[in-house]
């Protein structure tokens, strides 16, 4: 299942690993697969569409080129579209390359390094890469999972606080850098750039999606800091495949890795005990583990629900967190504030304000559903349908115009010429608008070249 949420985030770059990797030069991809740590291959594999995954797994132990005809024989007519998508994806990621098979037919060859990586993951036998787990006996005060979760949530909220413009603590400069790279805050020299359109949308996403996008822009930022990209990527995915509640030793880490570890501590991706002397132990949190499944694994285990929405458009947020109230107030009009709850109302104005900021109706509805109070979740549908429909209608009324670029043909002298031209444009499917009385015709910009050529040929005859 591809996440519904991924749609329409084009402006927040790189919604998944795949779209990020395809921006890299191909030699870089080859180096990624060559990396001795197979976790990268594993992360890329998990990000593939299901059909591409099955292709790779079927080919995993067959040391031959897979003829294209054989591949097609695997697929029923129903699966043809998925097949085309899967093949395109595998080629773009350079997992497959075209090669002649032993019988001389053209076929697909699996990247040897990628094959080795996946084999190592599935079969085992290679060197360990999970990091050494030190025996628990050494630990004086064990860290429990609940604590780690709370720590991760607090740290992550701190990042969001900065984004939402609520300054509670000093924010590390690298956090600001990453947010600016992601285009969530206005970058530049002045630090107080403020939140951008994408920033608003980012705040409405669920936490795993947020972390995922944040980490991808972190990777982009590391290049500015002259860190080795491959080392960074592999380190992140190594962390993401670790076990929650366990601790790992950072002894033997390179300088870059130590630096990243310190950064991740600020984001709440890992926990390290703060003490007088730097501890070599660290605990990966659930935030970093969610990365292992790619962007599609945003299992919407409802974040702790605090929002009650009523059919009368009243919205009650049982929270005292200024961040949560700030986010809710992006699309609602706040009425009252109490120690443990805030009450707002959804109005046409407030929703239109949010829409003007670039937030979509689906994002608002998803946000409300995701953070619905446990009692709301008992009912089905979770949100009153009057409300969701109304929010969508408010969005639709902003989109009454559709803009299409085009080229106008007018002052056509004869009806015959006009009809000839119009029919040709219709056949090409480029006719945007035609008016028979005034004999004018608008074709799309792509359609302009063939239509003009046609017209010139026509005139000669």
């Amino acid at each position: 299942m591809t996440m519904v949420a991924s749609d329409g985030y084009q402006s927040i770059d790189h919604k998944n690993l795949y779209s990020y990797l395809t921006t890299l030069p191909s030699s870089m991809l080859e180096n990624l697969y060559k990396h001795p740590n197979p976790c990268l291959c594993m992360a890329i594999f998990r990000d593939l569409v299901p059909m591409a995954q099955k292709f790779v797994l079927r080919q995993l132990f067959i040391d031959q080129v897979l003829p294209k005809s054989a591949l097609l024989a695997w697929i029923t007519p129903d699966g043809r579209k998925d097949h085309d998508d899967a093949v395109r994806l595998l080629i773009e990621l350079r997992i497959w390359s075209e090669a002649p098979s032993s019988a001389g037919l053209m076929g697909w060859k699996l990247n040897e390094h990628f094959r080795k990586g996946i084999q190592a993951v599935v079969v085992g036998g290679g060197p360990s890469w999970g990091g050494d787990v030190t025996p628990t006996a050494e630990e004086t005060t064990p860290v429990d999972v609940a604590f780690l979760e709370k720590y991760a949530r607090d740290q992550w909220e701190h990042v969001l606080h900065y984004l939402a413009g609520l300054k509670t603590r000093q924010t590390a400069s690298h956090v600001v850098d990453v947010l600016a790279t992601a285009g969530l805050v206005r970058g530049g020299n002045e630090r107080d750039g403020g939140i951008t359109q994408n920033g608003f949308r980012f705040l409405l996403m669920d936490t795993p999606s947020q972390v995922w996008r944040f980490v991808l822009s972190y990777l982009q930022t590391t290049q500015k800091w002259n860190m080795d990209l491959i080392e960074c990527i592999s380190f992140i995915f190594q962390l993401s495949f670790s076990q929650t509640g366990k601790h790992y030793s950072s002894s033997g880490f390179s300088d870059n890795q130590m630096k990243m570890l310190q950064h991740f501590r600020d984001y709440g991706l890992v926990y390290m005990r703060s003490g007088k002397r730097p501890s070599s132990r660290f605990y990966p949190t659930n935030l970093v583990m969610n990365l292992s499944g790619g962007a599609s694994s945003t299992n919407a285990s409802f974040a702790e629900g605090y929002i009650v929405v009523e059919t009368n458009y009243r919205i009650i947020a049982y929270t005292d967190s200024p961040l949560k109230i700030a986010v809710v107030s992006y699309f609602s009009e706040m009425l009252y504030r109490f120690p443990n709850l805030a009450i707002g109302i959804l109005t046409r104005e407030s929703i239109r304000n949010a829409l003007a900021k670039g937030i979509t109706a689906d994002e608002i509805i998803r946000f409300l559903r995701m953070h619905a109070h446990p009692q709301m979740r008992e009912s089905s549908p979770i949100l009153p349908s009057t409300l969701t429909d109304q929010i969508k209608l408010w969005e639709m009324e902003r989109a009454r115009f559709e803009f299409t670029d085009g080229v106008l043909y007018n002052q056509i002298n004869s009806v015959k010429d006009y009809e000839l031209l119009r029919n040709y444009a219709n056949d090409l499917g480029v006719n945007v608008l035609s008016n028979n009385d005034k004999r004018l015709l608008v074709v799309t910009t792509e359609g302009h070249v063939p239509v003009r050529a046609f017209w010139k040929r026509q005139k000669k005859e």
């Binding site: 998925d82 999970g130 076990q243 694994s297 559903r369 429909d389």
Partner: protein, 351 residues
């Protein structure tokens, strides 16, 4: 315009409101029939002694387990919210291999498998080892053992497990269950009734049952697969278990329409008779409870209805049936021999 807009709004909303995330659970039932595996080992050893070819048709447990681990790991690799449960099944007992019930710790080896995968593999391996050593020490006392494995225990446990996960899942999370049986030995028809009832339960729960058969074709599993809409594959090559498993049984329900999958086999719908637990082609069927018998008796052993055998001349009179308490099994001239498959289908329709 607005009206059409509204209808699309409504439908899209109800579609998305119910299910927020899907997690898949695959229950693998592994046939650990001791006598079958040891027979395989012995004959394999003999053959390997004669011709040194490694690719013999014989299976060795360790090698087959390794191949099954490849399959399990591939399944776990596909999606992070895929979960596996492995059950082992002996002649008369079933055990949870993963998640382990008892102490399944063994030597921890660190290698290139991710920790989560390694945990599954090690737990299964260690539990199998523990169970087999325990059973083999018992085995010496009574050397009487059969190739037959009884699956009902493992099957119903796996259905219960899936059911529990589905019930405990947080609202909005859908748990898809699937059962894969890897069978080695022979069918045991001794619990046919329970077996087929379990299958109907699976059918009701909308759980597909797949079967991968290493030994002889299994009639019972073919029936199970056919009734639940799963896939049935008989493995011919001992070295290719992993490839078969990875090719066929990784596909989830909605992918099976997109891939070419092994064709449905012609299913032999023979039922086992209730009196001697034999698989019968043509049998006698109680008209009240549809129990199957291989020989006609005076009354139904299941529902205690007394069969009234009517003579041919009485047939003309058409005596009134006293509501269900006495039922005619058959006029003796025309024995109520019915293809038991039909009964099966009737039962299927009733359930």
């Amino acid at each position: 315009m607005a009206m059409t807009g509204l209808t699309t709004l409504g439908s899209s909303d109800t579609g998305a409101a119910g299910v927020e995330s899907i997690s898949n659970i695959l229950v693998v039932i592994l046939d650990l029939n001791i006598s079958w595996w040891s027979d395989q080992m012995e004959s394999g050893a003999i053959r390997n002694g004669v011709s040194s070819s490694h690719a013999s048709q014989q299976y060795s447990l360790a090698f087959s387990l390794d191949q099954i681990f490849i399959f399990l790991n591939s399944y776990l690799l596909i999606q992070p919210n895929n979960k596996v449960v492995v059950l082992g099944c002996l002649e008369s007992q079933s055990y949870f291999l993963y998640p382990p019930t008892g102490d399944a710790s063994g030597p921890a080896i660190n290698d290139s498998r991710p920790e989560a995968f390694r945990m599954v593999n090690e737990a299964v391996l260690n539990s199998v080892r523990n169970i087999l050593t325990r059973e083999l020490s018992k085995e010496t006392q009574n050397s009487e053992s059969s190739h037959e494995t009884v699956f009902i225990g493992a099957l119903s446990r796996s259905l219960c497990y899936i059911h529990r996960l589905q019930r405990e899942a947080p609202k909005g999370q859908l748990v898809n269950g699937r059962v894969l049986v890897i069978e080695t030995g022979l069918d045991s028809s001794s619990h046919y009734m329970h077996f087929i009832n379990t299958i109907f339960t699976a059918q009701k729960m909308n759980i597909k049952m797949d079967a991968c058969v290493l030994g002889e074709d299994s009639v019972l599993l073919q029936q199970a697969v056919d009734l639940t809409g799963g896939l049935y594959v008989k493995v011919d090559n001992a070295a290719g278990i992993a490839q078969v498993l990875n090719t066929v049984f990784l596909l989830d329900a909605d992918e099976r329409s997109k891939f070419v999958v092994p064709e449905r086999v012609q299913v032999d719908y023979r039922a086992a008779c209730f009196c001697h637990q034999k698989l019968v082609e043509v049998g006698f069927v109680c008209s009240v409870c549809l129990s199957v018998f291989c020989v006609p008796g005076p009354m139904c052993t299941t529902c205690n209805s007394v069969f009234k055998y009517m003579l041919p001349q009485k047939q003309k009179r058409k005596g009134p049936l006293t509501n269900g308490k006495t039922a005619e099994v058959s006029p003796s001239s025309q024995p109520a021999k019915r293809k038991t498959g039909e009964t099966q289908r009737e039962r299927n329709g009733n359930s």
